[in-house]
């Protein structure tokens, strides 16, 4: 069982959380400008590293907030967890959709 540190609630058991996969994937600003292969890369292709992995977790049965975790995928050791803000956390999807509408206008 993993002991995961929620940046807001502190260390809690793995069963309180749900997993959100690789962190730092930004929705392309203008999906219509992408080729099929680029869109597929965004949708389906992941780094899946053997070793250090930055990933998203959701404190589903706690504060219900998303946060980032850096974890080793072989030893499962959690190096750190962090609040999502600033670079790499992704802009809200709504802003992207607006931007992409703007572009097509």
């Amino acid at each position: 069982m993993l002991l995961i540190e929620c940046p807001w609630c502190g260390p809690r058991a793995e069963t309180e959380f749900s997993y959100g996969g690789e962190a730092g994937i930004e929705r392309p600003a203008d999906p219509y400008a992408l080729s099929d292969a680029e869109w597929a890369d965004y949708l389906f292709f992941r780094r899946n590293p053997r070793g250090a992995h930055r990933e998203l977790w959701h404190h589903a049965q706690g504060c219900r907030r998303w946060f980032g975790v850096e974890r080793d995928t072989v030893s499962y050791r959690i190096e750190k967890s962090y609040r999502l803000s600033g670079a790499g956390s992704g802009r809200p999807a709504a802003a992207h959709i607006e931007a992409s509408k703007e572009k097509r206008r």
Binding site: M1, L2, E14, T15, S18, Y19, G21, D36, A37, W39, A40, D41, L43, F44, F45, R46, R47, N48, P49, R50, H53, E55, R71, T73, V74, S75, Y76
Partner: protein
Amino acid sequence: MKRYSALGLLRNALDYNRNWPAAWRSPEPKKSYDAIIVGGGGHGLATAYYLARDHGLRNVAVLEKGWIGGGNTGRNTSIVRSNYLWTEASLLYEKSLQLWEGLSRDLNYNVMFSQRGVYNLGHSLQDMRDIERRVNANRLNGIDAEVLGPAEVKRAIPCINTSPGARYPILGASLQRRGGVARHDAVAWGFARAADALGVDIIEQCEVTGIEVRAGRAVGVATTRGAIAADRIGVVVAGNAGVLAGMAGLRLPIESHPLQAFVSEPIRPVLDTVVMSGAVHGYISQSDKGELVIGAGIDAYNGYGQRGSFPVIEHAMQAIIELFPAFSRVRMLRLWGGIVDICPDACPIVSKTPVQGLYFNCGWGTGGFKATPGSGWVFAHTLAHDRPHDLNAPFSLDRFASGALIDEHGAAAVAH
């Protein structure tokens, strides 16, 4: 290769079993091969066997970083069936099932394939509608399948709890009578021995550490036992597929997760078939030794650690004990985890890649064991002809860009 036979058993018994020859050689790797298969699991060994037997390619090496059958081939629940929903998937798994039916004779090795039937339980009205749809789809594809009601399930499996007050009431099941189980180690050993007899070099303790690509073409591999050149390279490494792809500068739509299974202490015969439940996520059969063999779901997070977490074990046990209350006092003996390569559409990738001469066979996820002979058969064809067989053409890497996914996630009877 010395053929195995009843007479041979008798002759060796008279010698106190001291003179059995090794089942396969342990050769030093050559400088180059016509084809290299990376990964000495069931799928890789089957690929080498069919390459040698059906395509006349005998200058072939199988490179295994550990020992034969030490990875996922020895870490599954050994269930074999072909009752998938979509035509592409069911035809591929059905090819495999047909190969299973003659495999012991083909390999001159008893893989203990036992067609004891596979039940997929339905616990809700929607489950039963899905089961009827899948059974009809199977029958249209010429695959045996039946829908059973709760009374028929109870008659066939007396120890199952079909009472209407059960937490997971059983409203019926699908049954594939030709499904069953096989001895997983024997599958690896049988393919290894038969491939070796056809001239394939099986090289254990030989980890691939790099793939050499020149002008868009794979020309060889770097290994812990030196560089080896090859005209074509087939990679069949399950959970480590992404790591190998990275060596050739490729990305795969695959994520690796731990999948767990466990066995109980041996008990008297109580369950003579295979029972799976997608809704409660447990599957169970009884081995010839008497152990209950129980499969769990995957851990949600990415992992390469060949072990999973306790909540997943607890979840699977809850399901099994609800279905079979009598098993509540059976003690568990061992548990293990394998690293499975999960594809977004829960279907494999058996495909050429953007790198010439480099082929990948991966993404079988939680359901690879049943596909062992079929996977090897189509992958051998793909390597030998540099194009897929009709059966695996839909399972190309291109489908993620074209959108022609084969969505078996919700459609397969259980998470494989």
